[in-house]
């Protein structure tokens, strides 16, 4: 592909995925968080914000079960006073929210969120109308199809902790400071098991590229399942054991990585006021909020890609080919991917409103004594299975 169409397509994909999917998804994850928590606690949750038709002389307001609540929240956060306390270290204070939100969004660059999308049925008539030749062929639905794949995810995702640490340090106040310390020590104890837990996958597949990992799962069955689509297979059944262990360790580590309950020690509202974002207000606080939920979505995307077959659903074709049907299946693949992500996000929320927070020492113990060793042993189990059961 030439440079200019490549740049245009990449920019369009980035814009579409961030402004078309991730940001709406973040705001509606917040809505889902409030709604699900309410229902778990036998409440109703936000159900008021709608269209105030009575202001324009109509008889009734439209409530839509409060579905417009995220928009009201966003408007509120944007028009609030942006207060910078006098005692903060201004440079890092301003830098921290950006560092909190950017890594989560960058992580999504390497995740394949769909098969291919062939936009030619729309673009060719459009090009003819303008008198230009517009035909891109099938466009792969991943922004950057890099071979380091998962390593890129780990590298960028762990930068996210700098946002929290800098916020905690620059605020020059004890509670944010404690939150920052907790965040950094939590990261040290969980990054290890996060990285080690996925090595069995690479041993099995022999590739770090996330698109290739999805392709492998399409031919050999999802890694979380003990069977494949094409017949019974001893290797697959035996490899299921380390894969499940990998999945559990990886998911728990992802909870810690995204600062979700039961590992939300850096925030810990009951102990640390608001944790690292105590001194923040308005849009800077909203950026932390956005970063946290975007990190949740990015983490869920990685879990879906690694274990749940990415955009693949059995017996659904991908978007390769030409014509409207291919375009339709390409869109269905994208919808399947984000459907799976949404299910995992529900799981994240469900866990948050069930479990109490771990104590600081319990978290260290869990990270260093258990998950690190389990992930390490798991590598040897997977390697042993692969050694004694050649294809």
């Amino acid at each position: 592909m030439d440079l200019l169409p490549f740049l245009i397509i990449s920019a369009l994909k980035t814009l579409a995925i961030i402004f078309g999917v991730i940001l709406p998804m973040v705001s509606y994850t917040v809505y889902a968080e409030r709604k699900v928590s309410a229902m778990i606690q036998d409440r109703i949750g936000p159900n008021r914000v709608g269209i105030p038709l009575t202001l324009f002389g109509f008889k009734k307001d439209l409530f839509f079960q409060g579905l417009l609540q995220p928009i009201a929240d966003a408007v509120k956060l944007m028009i609030k006073e942006d207060f910078t306390p006098a005692h903060v270290n201004k440079f890092y204070y301003w830098l921290a929210p950006a560092l909190g939100v950017a890594p989560a969004l960058i992580t999504l660059a390497v995740v394949p969120f769909g098969s291919v999308l062939n936009l030619d049925p729309i673009l060719v008539p459009l090009g003819n109308w303008f008198g230009a030749k517009l035909a891109f062929g099938p466009i792969p639905m991943v922004i950057a199809d890099v071979d380091v794949g998962v390593l890129f995810v780990f590298a960028i995702a762990s930068v996210g902790v700098y946002g929290i640490v800098l916020a905690g340090w620059s605020a020059n106040s004890k509670y944010p400071f404690l939150g920052g310390i907790r965040s950094s020590s939590q990261m040290i104890s969980y990054e290890l098991s996060l990285g080690l837990s996925v090595i069995p996958i690479f041993l099995l597949i022999g590739n770090l590229n996330l698109s290739e990992i999805v392709q492998y799962q399409i031919t050999n069955g999802w890694l979380i399942l003990p069977f494949s689509w094409n017949g019974f297979n001893w290797e697959k059944l035996l490899m299921w054991i380390p894969m499940v262990i990998s999945f559990v360790v990886f998911t728990v580590s992802m909870f810690a990585e995204t600062n979700r309950v039961p590992f939300d020690l850096p925030e810990a509202e009951q102990e640390l006021v608001g944790g690292y974002h105590t001194e923040y207000s308005s849009m800077k606080f909203a950026l932390f909020f956005l970063g946290e939920y975007a990190a949740m979505i990015a983490g869920s995307s990685v879990i879906v890609t690694l274990f749940f077959g990415g955009w693949h659903l059995p017996f659904l074709p991908d978007g390769s080919g030409t014509g409207w049907l291919a375009l339709f299946w390409g869109l269905v693949n994208i919808a399947v991917f984000f459907g799976k992500v949404a299910l995992l996000l529900f799981f994240f929320i469900w866990v948050r409103w069930t479990l109490p927070r771990f104590r600081y020492d319990q978290l260290m113990k869990l990270g260093w004594y258990f998950f690190f060793e389990i992930a390490l042993a798991n590598i040897f189990v997977a390697a042993g299975i692969l050694l004694f059961l050649p294809k």
């Binding site: 309410a38 229902m39 036998d42 866990v351 069930t354 479990l355």
Partner: protein, 176 residues
């Protein structure tokens, strides 16, 4: 002396975390689906549905002034409520009754009676201390206003909220 709290002895499944976590998740999802299917109807949509008709007789809402059955104001501006009020929400300006009145030089009357509803803590001491049975806590609880001045109830507002109270109210010694 140090007191040793014995830690509970955990079974293997409890130490594994996961069975306990799974059972916890089961409990919460049960509540979730019960709420989703609408089987739980213990909630009240507040501004549309109110608990007002179920408020008990002894409910302590906003303090108000009452008139007797002849439309006379009961308050004699003795200022006992002003003195007992813990947050000092009540301000009374006592005034003399006009000379032609039957009770001139005998009783006073409140020229102005103000209760600052931002300060009021709804304790009901004013009602308890009043010897003339003039001040009562009624059932209004949603006291709102757009400014501090609006939140100060003056005499007119207090009588408007209080209305009339007929006869003797046995507030200290209820009739057996």
């Amino acid at each position: 002396m140090a007191y040793t709290v014995s830690r509970p002895k955990l079974t293997v499944s409890e130490r594994m975390y996961f069975p306990a976590i799974a059972s916890g998740l089961l409990i919460t999802i049960k509540h979730f689906f019960k709420m989703l299917s609408g089987k739980r109807e213990i909630l009240m949509q507040y501004p549309e549905e109110k608990w007002d008709s179920h408020l008990p007789e002894h409910y302590r809402g906003a303090p108000t002034l009452v008139k007797d059955e002849h439309g006379r104001e009961r308050c004699v501006a003795c200022q006992l409520c002003e003195f007992i009020c813990p947050p000092r929400a009540i301000t009374i300006t006592p005034g003399e009754l006009p000379a032609e009145s039957k009770f001139a030089k005998v009783e006073k009357y409140p020229e102005e009676f103000k209760i600052d509803m931002i300060r009021c803590i709804y304790c009901g001491l004013c009602e308890e201390v009043c010897p003339e049975q003039a001040i009562f806590l009624r059932k209004d609880y949603a006291i709102t206003g757009l400014s501090r001045a609006e939140m100060v109830h003056d005499k007119k507002k207090l009588y408007e909220l209080g209305g009339t109270m007929n006869g003797l109210v046995h507030k200290w010694n209820p009739l057996k």
